[in-house]
Amino acid sequence: MRTRDTACGKIDIAELRGRLETSGGPHYWRSLDELAATPEFQAFVEDEFPSQADDLKNPATRRDLLRVMAAAFGLAGLTACTRQPKENILPYVRQPEEIVLGQPLMYATAMPFRGSAVGLLVESHEGRPTKVEGNPQHPGSLGRTNLFNQASTLGLYDPDRSQAVYFHGRISTWGEFLGRMAELRETLGSGEGLHVLSEPMHSPTLMAQRSALRRRYPAMQWYEYDPIRDSSRDGIVYDFARADVVLSLDSDFLFAMPGSIAYARAFGSRRHAEADRSRMNRLYVVEPTPSITGDSADHRLPVKASEVEVFAQAVAARAAGSTGQSATLRPELSRFVDAVAKDLQAHRGASIVIAGEYQPASVHALAQALNQSLGNIGSTVRHIQTTPDEAQSFPDLVNAMRAGRVKALLIMGVNPVYTAPVDYEFSKHLGAVPFRMHLGLYRDETGSLCQWHVPEAHYLESWSDAAAYDGSACIVQPLIAPLYGGRTPHEVLGTLTETPDQSGYQIVKSFWQSQYRSPDFEQAWEHWLHDGIIPNTAFPERQATSIPAQKVAQPGSQAAQTGLEIVFRADPCVWDGRFANNAWLQETPKPHTKITWDNAIYVSPRTAERLKIENQDLVELRYRGRNVRGPAWVVPGQADDSVTVFLGYGRGRAGRVGTRAGYNGYALRTADRPYFDGGLELVKTGDRYNVASTQTHHTMAGRDLIHSATNARFLKDQTLFRGEEKQEHEVAELSLYPGWESTGYRWGMAIDLNACIGCNACVVACVAENNVPVVGKEQVGRGREMHWLRVDRYHSGSLDNPQVYFQPLPCMHCEQAPCEVVCPVAATVHSSDGLNQMVYNRCVGTRYCSNNCPYKVRRFNFLLYQDWDTPSLAAMRNPNVTVRSRGVMEKCTYCVQRIEAAKIETQKQDRRIRDGEIQTACQQACPTDAIIFGDLNDKSSRVHKLRNGPLHYSLLAELGTKPRTTYTAKLRNINPELETVS
């Protein structure tokens, strides 16, 4: 049996580059292996499940297999004869009035994440939260979510969460902790030596508690620390819906910024297939490593992180009217600068220049100066008055610890032992602090080094409040009582006051009562809880601070560095490491490389060529006398000589999922250069490291799957994509099988490739809604991931700076489904409304269907992937979806449980289902509205209109499968001056 995990062979990068340059016409590819067509890749494609094929070629084992299969087949029918196991019903003793058994309730709450909260509506089945959706009334959500929100239910039920108060590594109690805090209070006096470390705070109640504590302990010191800079205090919000031209200076505003969900929605509204094509916006991105924003760009230029500032200065100088050629610019950069500056000038007042959180203050100043000179301030860029930053910075804490001034340190929900810059030697200094307390969801690296550890309540268990990116406040209300006796920061801070045992509810409510001095407070409070938003609490606008014009053209503080550059980035799935134990996020393929369960070291093809590095080579990074080993990954689109290291992996104490996955990027990260720096050395070790990447899985080898054009070309010829339809129609007529008539409903889905940004929110939403199991790295390596919906990523164009296309791929629900005709037991059949049904209880696991599926959307439970034993996970599952066992095929159902629920409700009301009444889980999560589901028989439905629109196409139409899931072709708004650059 072969154990090779991923298709990977020797690749000649120079040869590939040459081939791409000479090949005419658009050509789409997924991976370098596919492009190179190495023998290993060919073999990988031939065997869909690579490691199994050998057994079938051996005649003896083949006979054995058939014998076993025949016996299994014969006995399969017997399983129907089992008696139902004894089950008990435990009714309520006193049933809450609002609960109707069998009907879920939705509660409004919010997930605080770094500087901004996303308002949520959480589905609760008899008191168990099972699924989160966005709150349409909340400005940070607008009804949509990101993958972190979607995965938070698993975070709640994670069996590895801290479950008790610990004192010196032994289980203790909250009561004992209160006793110890009472002693501490006696000795604190004015608070000399009392230090508190928290995340950047945006909870109004917590801030008020801090102010109260300051009054009581004037000498108390409070620090805020986030390993990734949080730009929410910058006080700038953007209106992407009004921007015609956007320039991103290494900013991942579609995914990683406070307010990204709202930004993605606004940005997508100008690109959506339903939008006015003549008003399509244009996005320029310069960045060192491909981000979600960069992958959506019309023009993307990979530059080293240190070069971004040089680029920004050049644009600023050009926009200010200078025409001289900047000496420091490379020619391709210079051309890009000219085009961008001209485009920005042509859209004064309707453009945005946005700087990334990883870039230094000078780049942010440049971006704002540009916005000012372009007249964007007040129209597309608004400045708001955020709450003043009252905390000291993290280095001050380290200095105080070094000096021995810290007598008591309360660490609230952060993990500095893991995330602090390595040169601070935080754990060493922490050990010298006499009283250390850690509040956290996990007893992690920091928790295990503190005398006291208190389990933190998950946000779905907490009373708290939070602010959205624009300052709008909302109440965080719990969906469930703390599973493991967790406490909120409010309650822990309360232990320092005269009323140490106040509940979080009392603290939060009394704060808002003090803010809202009106007799109808109770009524208002109920409204806030119901709506999930407190009206009129957004930050007021402020006058933009004027930036002196000369600063615009000033040379930067950092010149572009030569040699290899190290770039630190938060991981797009586990972020700074806080989600490392979340298996849903670990198994979600990274947006750009489709790597799961690991962080790789990204190098550009040219750099890899020079250093003779291939995918999965174990390389050593040497930087400032420290070194770290990790697998290299050659990433088309990565800037040359720029090496990206992703943070969040290599955890020492994350839990059974996250511990020891990947390498620890923090081990190289120093305080003065937290985001990028030169002076990196990259050395091949000669060893190999298996990385489980799904980018080569389920390949639809070489077929015409992505349709795209430039916007300008489409505006000239609206019938550009219409040739396909005729052909599709002709092929469909050739079928020997009779067609299906769906006279009632005719479900269909349209996926807009223009709007899709590849953020993976849909993938995790599908996992959460449909009880999709996690399989682990080894099984992913064998191509056995279970995701019903995958987001394929295609490249086109040059090897060094390719264009990127994302294509979400659920089941196509073909009208002439190839899977149905090959099933020997009729476990997959057609429904009257056109769904391709998968009946688990009939399936005997022949996998013929999967073999015959041209779209490769069927997933087989090779092993018992589902965790049937952990009690907390049983509470997490959606009760309306069967939990599948071993040996069963499964696939996307169009969220049939939602369809059936809507059908039943509308039947009771004697009416038809309205357009938009059913949203599939992926559709509901999508921040950019890229997935649209509805009834094709309803002429006024959105999906019907998109299907008859000029951009519509179906995948592999030439096979005559007549898929119900179809796509709209991707248009790029190319600047004619840059047409040949990217």
Binding site: I89, P91, L101, V829
Partner: protein, 216 residues
């Protein structure tokens, strides 16, 4: 060349073939019989419950409405099992010292649920919805039998897929006017088929035979 088989082989051979057919056929038949037996279907089998609650007494003799206890039957998939509070709404006044009701009082005092044993239990991959059946004119007694005559509750029907499909294929044979849903002793006043066809079109009853109707 001597004979290989004796004469008796002429008899043994066809006999053994017949026997084999009988054995295999009998095996299949007995499995099918087993599947339909009370051992598997549990039709008519009462189960030991923590409280020997009598539907005959409450629903039959006292005439308490089904939905008084099974309150979500018209609105939800699950008909609902009454909380202890519902029992105590009467039994805090009457039979307050009955030893039979001690588990109920104990539950009310301690806040712990009464652990009823499930009688009508579908497999976990089947999603049945009470409310739509009630709304489309299927009476309680059609599936649950004469509950008003059961001192202890038991299954009146097998609840197997074949049985479900019998009605899903021909709803007109079982449908009744909506106002007679809870009528345990309901008998159609006219010809059932004629009434059934009329009600099916009036209530817009579909013949839902798609797998996804019940299996998700």
């Amino acid at each position: 060349m001597p004979q290989i088989f004796s004469r008796s082989a002429n008899t043994v051979a066809p006999l053994s073939i017949a026997l084999a057919i009988l054995l295999v056929g009998g095996g299949i038949l007995s499995i099918m019989g087993l599947d339909r037996s009370e051992y598997i279907t549990e039709i008519g089998v009462a189960k030991v419950q923590p409280v020997q609650f009598s539907h005959r007494h409450h629903a039959g003799q006292l005439g308490i409405h089904c939905a008084y206890c099974h309150s979500s039957v018209e609105v939800s998939s699950f008909a609902g099992i009454p909380p202890t509070h519902t029992c105590m709404s009467c039994h805090s006044q009457i039979w307050i010292n009955s030893p039979t009701l001690e588990p109920v009082r104990e539950s009310y005092r301690s806040g712990q649920s009464i652990e009823w044993v499930r009688v009508h239990d579908l497999p976990d991959f089947v999603y049945f919805n009470h409310s739509i059946h009630i709304n489309k004119g299927i009476g309680c007694a059609s599936c649950h039998g004469r509950v008003d005559q059961m001192p202890q509750i038991y299954k009146a029907q097998s609840l197997q897929m074949q049985w479900c499909l019998d009605c899903h294929r021909q709803p007109e044979r079982h449908i009744r006017p909506r106002e007679k849903i809870y009528d345990m002793a309901y008998q159609p006043a006219e010809d059932q088929m004629e009434l059934g066809r009329r009600l099916v079109s009036e209530y817009k009853v579909q013949k839902l035979l798609d797998c996804y109707t019940c299996h998700r």
